[in-house]
Amino acid sequence: MNTNEPNALVVEKISTAYDKANVLENVSLTAAPGKITCLLGSNGSGKTTLIRSILGLTPPNKGVIRFRGLDLRGLPTHRVIAAGIACIPEGRRVFAKFSVEENLRMGAYQETSDAEVRERLVRVYTAFPRLSERRTQLAGTLSGGEQAMVSIGRGLMRAPKLLLVDEPSLGLAPILVQENFNIIRRIREQGITIFLVEQNVHQTLAISDYGYVLSKGRVVAEGKPADLSKTKEVHEAYFG
């Protein structure tokens, strides 16, 4: 893909290690603005590590990460977020002891205008009426599906330019998985760039504009969804 697009998320030749062993090796990819770009890969292929690298939670030891022209590598996580990025983390990671509304407010933590925060709350509650009903309930007492809504709503509260989504379907019932993918598609319609990391090949490719396949810490294939679904790398990455 075109890596010269100024508003894209560009990851160039990054390697990331926990302790000494490299989990990611020389990974390059681009998430084009306003599109859904997906990263497919089986368990342990390094997908979550890539998200953590972008966020600065596990900084890469070499390579370049750029978003809207800003060099993100080496920045502490809150500065990465300040670049207009939000994350819907793997496993939802809601604050169990916070109410639904406190969770949502955490999503807009860097927004200083209270009026703006209230406006975003209204938008999220309109999109998820269920959360509005439960706004004072502790998030830890919600069902898995409701927690997924909190996690997504929290990401939207950031009003991000780029949304990183890590395995939204993990641990959810099939009907909720489908619902989640529909939501992600609707988020893209708001012009938000989405980088989606998933194991679930078919549903992910169905909503993506472009995809990459990660296997053992390396990008082994990329292309348009229609082409990607036919490649042997996709099958090998999962079954090989």
């Binding site: 939670l57 502490p76 996580t77 809150h78 977020i81 990671r93 604050f95 955490m106 933590y109």
Partner: protein, 306 residues
């Protein structure tokens, strides 16, 4: 026991409990945001008390006579200086050790506490001996039977309640409080929401240390004497109080502080041995409590790890 004596002991217990609770809250805050035990906390209290005393001596030598001015200046100097000291300790000794085992933090702050304590002993003029602490609050009292309700103690108790209520409001009603609680629950997700983790840690250590300074000043005003060892004792008691309350829980720390004071008071008054054994009794009960409820009375963080 007649009412007067009972009320007197209760008042004394409440004063002690307030000091213990203020120290325990610090331990629990630090553990909340960073999962570390900072053993220099008690000695920060000592330095705070001596900062207040030095401020008083300084003002006296400058000819300031107003007790209100003196008291305010001591409060501001002790709280301000200890807030800075707490943040510096976090920045220099605690945050850099994040990747190391928690035991290292415990050890390094234990040594740091010794350095602070010894520095007071060696460098404060005649610091090895107990220093008289000025009586600055109005000392009027009301007698109800045998009970002598002193105005200064009432003021200190009320101030302590205000501080704790203020802390609660800050934690529960402000954005800073939201961030502190978020970091305490899930550091990584808090970062992902855009919270400046290091800044929140430094602020939390500043707040906890300011509370210790407040407790140190209270200690001085209550006993009218301080020495370089007060923090060591109050640190151990505050730590025990935080543990029996359930480390990580603010309410638990407060409860633990007052409970420890209650045990001491009972040990000194109601039990058939000399009052010198009050600490033996109180700590013995703490040990039993810990064996019975290893995660504390109001378990917060430890239970989540199971």
């Amino acid at each position: 026991m007649d009412f007067g004596l009972f009320a007197q002991h209760t008042m004394n217990g409440l004063m002690l409990g307030m000091m213990y609770a203020l120290v325990a809250v610090g331990f629990t805050l630090f553990f909340g945001v960073l999962d570390v035990i900072k053993f220099s906390h008690g000695d920060v209290l000592t330095v705070g008390a001596f900062t207040a005393l030095a401020t008083f001596v300084g003002l006296k030598s400058m000819g300031v006579a107003s007790t209100t001015v003196e008291l305010l200046a001591m409060l501001i100097a002790a709280i301000g200086a200890m807030a800075v000291l707490g943040a510096v300790i976090a920045k220099a000794f605690v945050l850099p050790l994040r990747a190391a085992p928690a035991l290292n933090t415990l050890l390094i702050t234990l040594m740091l506490g010794t350095v602070l304590r010894e520095a007071v002993r060696l460098f404060y003029p005649d610091g090895a001996n107990p220093k008289p602490f000025p009586r600055l609050l109005p000392a009027e009292s009301v007698s109800i039977g045998n009970f002598n309700l002193r105005l200064d103690n009432t003021i200190m108790l009320a101030a302590g309640v205000l501080v704790i209520v203020g802390l609660q409001l800050m934690l529960n009603r402000t954005k800073l409080g939201l961030a502190i609680r978020a970091v305490a629950q899930d550091e990584e997700t808090a970062k992902t929401m855009g919270v400046n983790f290091s800044a929140i840690v430094l602020i939390t250590f500043a707040i906890g240390s300011a509370l210790a300074a407040f407790a140190g000043l209270m200690n001085g005003l209550y006993y009218n004497e301080i020495n370089f060892g007060i923090g060591l004792y109050l640190g151990v008691v505050g730590f025990s109080a935080a543990i029996i309350g359930g480390l990580g829980s603010i309410y638990g720390a407060i409860l633990g502080g007052f409970m420890f004071a209650a045990l001491q008071t009972i040990g000194a008054v109601a039990l058939p041995f000399a009052s010198a054994y009050k600490d033996v009794f109180a700590f013995a009960v703490v040990i039993v409590l810990m064996a019975w409820r290893p995660t504390g009375l109001i378990p917060e963080k430890l239970s989540e790890r199971v």
